[in-house]
């Protein structure tokens, strides 16, 4: 049950045994319109409009798009550009809550998922604004409808949570095993598969036991404990570890007959179908030694980061970085006014001593990165090519197959910013290909 490559970082799972804490209602929420991969929805509310909790604020624009919902009942204060965790300021809806936290009147449960047709299930999932909670935030209903020519026979649930520090999936599996299992069932039905596997790293044995005990009798769901190794949670490597199938390079999991969903997504799907509740809150791990009281917090989507950190005792003096996500792939924040998104699995506050700074010394070709790369690329030479602006040769080195997991930079002796080279390299390579196609055609 292993994949080749990868690294063994020290895991710092400080909050593994902290029960999830619910954040109290706040006065102000900022809900960005773009929170998922795909076209952002169109805003369907205006300034001053009264909204109920869970009321959709945008309507999906096209198939690969979902709407965002109000986290609480209140009034739409302003629609403008607000700081966004993934880069420049972007349009968002600012809502001031009226304190009642009353559900929008159309919210109603849809009964047992076993009596609903797959198409109906997918519609409920889309209307509930469900996206992958693992971090990629790809619209769930799109993943559940693979094209005819790509038959899918297996659903895999990603409970690996291989990023150090993060424990949100762990808590979800421990605290709601039954709902997660039901959620898996409804996803299997929506996808039309009879088998499902749950992959959990063997540093979360209690979660595995909890899920096994909660397995519904009529569902063929097997829970497997996998070796704790980063990046076990990468879709391609989770599939390989569980089924030995290799997703073709440049392809998607469905190319090898599999769809992968995060365990948190399964729970949210269950809430959407059983209780009719859209995705407006999720478990976020707030951790790192720069935050006074690390905790797993049930946070409403749209809560500014500063508020969440305040709720956990605020930052210590010598904070170095505040990161959305884990330390291996997380995105650094420069402005704490940015709100929590659907895909935010963790808020990591690290002190300077915990952080390793990049030095960009010359590569001494030690080969550590070649051993660590789970996609079997050659990061040392690829990085050198980008550093010297030799973008035309990157295709030969398969830069587009890099999953930016950071394993190479973790073991790089010269502390080179390899993932930054590859992000840049991919952009420049696509530019190069476009120019070539332009000149050839």
């Amino acid at each position: 049950m292993k994949f080749k490559g990868g690294i063994h970082p020290d895991y710092h799972k400080l909050t593994a045994d902290h029960a999830t804490v619910v954040m109290p209602l706040l006065k102000r929420y900022v809900i960005p319109v773009s929170q998922h991969i795909g076209t952002p929805g169109e805003i369907i509310v205006e300034r001053g409009q009264e909204v109920g909790r869970g009321q959709p604020l945008t309507s999906p624009a096209g198939f690969v798009s979902v709407s965002v919902h109000a986290p609480t009942s209140g009034k739409v204060k302003k629609i403008a550009d607000f700081p966004h965790p993934l880069g420049k300021a972007q349009p968002a809806v600012e809502i001031t809550s009226d304190g009642e936290d009353a559900w929008f009147e159309d919210i109603a449960g849809h009964g047992d998922w076993r009596d609903l047709t797959p198409a109906r299930l997918k519609n409920i999932i889309r209307d509930a604004g469900l996206v992958g909670l693992g971090g990629a935030s790809f619209p769930t209903h799109v993943k559940l409808s693979p094209p005819k020519e790509k038959p899918v026979d297996l659903l895999i649930l990603n409970g690996a949570e291989c990023e150090p520090y993060l424990t949100s999936d762990h808590r979800v599996m421990l605290e709601h095993p039954a709902e997660v299992m039901e959620g898996i069932g409804l996803l299997m039905r929506a996808l039309g598969v009879r088998k499902a596997l749950v992959g959990i790293e063997n540093n979360k044995v209690d979660a595995g036991e909890a899920l096994k005990r909660a397995r519904p009798v009529d569902l063929d769901i097997k829970v497997h404990l996998l070796e704790t190794k980063y990046p076990q949670g990468s879709e391609k490597h989770l599939i390989y570890a569980l089924t030995k199938r290799q997703v073709p390079a440049g392809g998607l999991p469905m190319d090898s007959g599999v769809v992968v969903q995060n365990v948190g997504t399964a729970l949210s799907c269950h809430d959407a179908v059983k209780l009719g509740r859209p995705l407006t809150e999720r478990v976020v791990t707030v951790t790192g030694s720069a935050v006074r009281e690390p905790a797993n917090v049930m946070v409403r989507v749209g809560t500014p980061v500063a508020e969440v950190i305040d709720f956990c005792g605020g930052l210590t003096g010598d904070v170095g970085k505040v990161i959305f996500g884990g330390p291996m792939m997380g995105i650094v924040q420069s402005n704490l006014a940015a709100p929590v998104l659907k895909g935010t699995s963790g808020i990591l506050c690290l002190v300077e001593s915990e952080i390793s700074q990049f030095q960009g010394a010359p590569c001494i070709r030690c080969g550590n990165c070649v051993d660590a790369c789970p996609m079997f690329l050659v990061p040392s030479i690829m990085g050198l090519l980008v550093e010297r602006n030799r973008f035309a040769d990157l295709g030969e080195y398969h830069i587009t197959d890099c999953i930016e997991c950071g394993s190479c930079a973790y073991v790089c002796l010269s502390r080179r910013p390899l993932v930054q080279f590859f992000k840049r390299g991919k952009l420049e390579w696509h530019e190069h290909v476009k120019q070539l196609e332009g000149s050839v055609s």
Partner: protein, 273 residues
């Protein structure tokens, strides 16, 4: 004495015949104009035009991939002649010069965080916009300087680049290299410029940088009858087809974003005022 010359002539003749046959077998048709152009070119095969030699450059010229101006060695007379052969109009009307639309060095602009990574603007731009509070401003990691073949760009202070007009040949390489798209080719005879690209509202712009354009429209108002500066998206833009000439208009600007910079006479860039 006769035999050596006879032997040599014989070998020469045989080889010549063989080659004549080979020339027919491997004939490759070449555009007649290519021969004509090739004769005009200096024939030094210096590679300054980016091709392997003059023959290669003339082939590219015929296929229209290159233009006569690429050859750094040819004098104007030859360039005009090449233009006629190709039936292409050659020569430039007004000299243009590159201009960086930003003055936000760290003495006036604020950082949002300490950037730690690859020392290249295009790479820094991928990480939270590069860590400068004004996300439109110059990151000062010298991508433009690295790509300028004429040494016409210098880093005059932390986080800001500046073009040396006298050395700039308007080749456009820096325009493409800047990830924030701050560099424009402007006529060298213009003097008044808005050196800012921040399109945020006034309050946010002022917080990000002391010399940012707040979109206050004061400069626009001074040209009631024939508009020479237009405000668009909280940012003033000079109309370079009908540029303002009266340098007094610069006093109107509260932050100094609208400023005078002579582009045709300086050889060394003056320190920022």
């Amino acid at each position: 004495m006769l035999t050596p010359t006879a032997v040599l002539a014989g070998i020469g003749l045989v080889s010549g015949l063989g080659l004549a046959v080979a020339a027919k077998v491997f004939a490759v048709e070449i555009d007649p104009r290519q021969e004509e152009i090739n004769d005009q070119l200096p024939g030094a095969n210096c590679g300054g035009c980016g091709y392997a030699g003059c023959a290669d450059f003339s082939a590219a010229l015929v296929e229209g991939k290159a233009d006569p101006g690429d050859c750094p060695v040819c004098d104007d007379a030859t360039l005009r002649l090449l233009g006629e052969i190709m039936g292409v109009e050659v020569g430039e009307s007004v000299r243009h010069v590159a201009l960086i639309m930003c003055q936000g060095g760290l003495s006036v602009a604020h950082r949002e965080g300490r950037y730690n990574g690859h020392a290249s603007c295009a790479s820094a731009d991928l990480i939270a916009g590069g860590g400068k509070l004004c996300s439109y401003g110059c990151l000062g990691l010298a991508d433009c300087q690295a790509v300028c073949a004429f040494g016409a760009i210098e880093m005059i202070e932390d986080c800001i680049a500046r073009v040396i007009p006298s050395r700039c040949t308007a080749c456009g390489k820096c325009v493409a290299a800047c990830p924030k798209h701050l560099i424009r080719l402007v006529p060298a005879n213009t003097q008044i410029h808005v050196l800012c690209s921040n399109t945020e509202k006034g309050a946010a712009a002022r917080k990000a940088c002391n010399v940012s354009c707040l979109g206050c429209k004061k400069c626009e108002k001074t040209f009631e009858d024939d508009p020479r500066i237009i405000i668009h998206d909280h940012l003033a833009k000079v109309d370079y087809l009908k540029p303002p000439t009266d340098q007094a208009v610069v006093e109107v600007c509260p932050t100094g974003a609208l400023t005078v910079r002579l582009l045709d006479r300086e050889d060394r860039a003056r320190q920022p005022s």
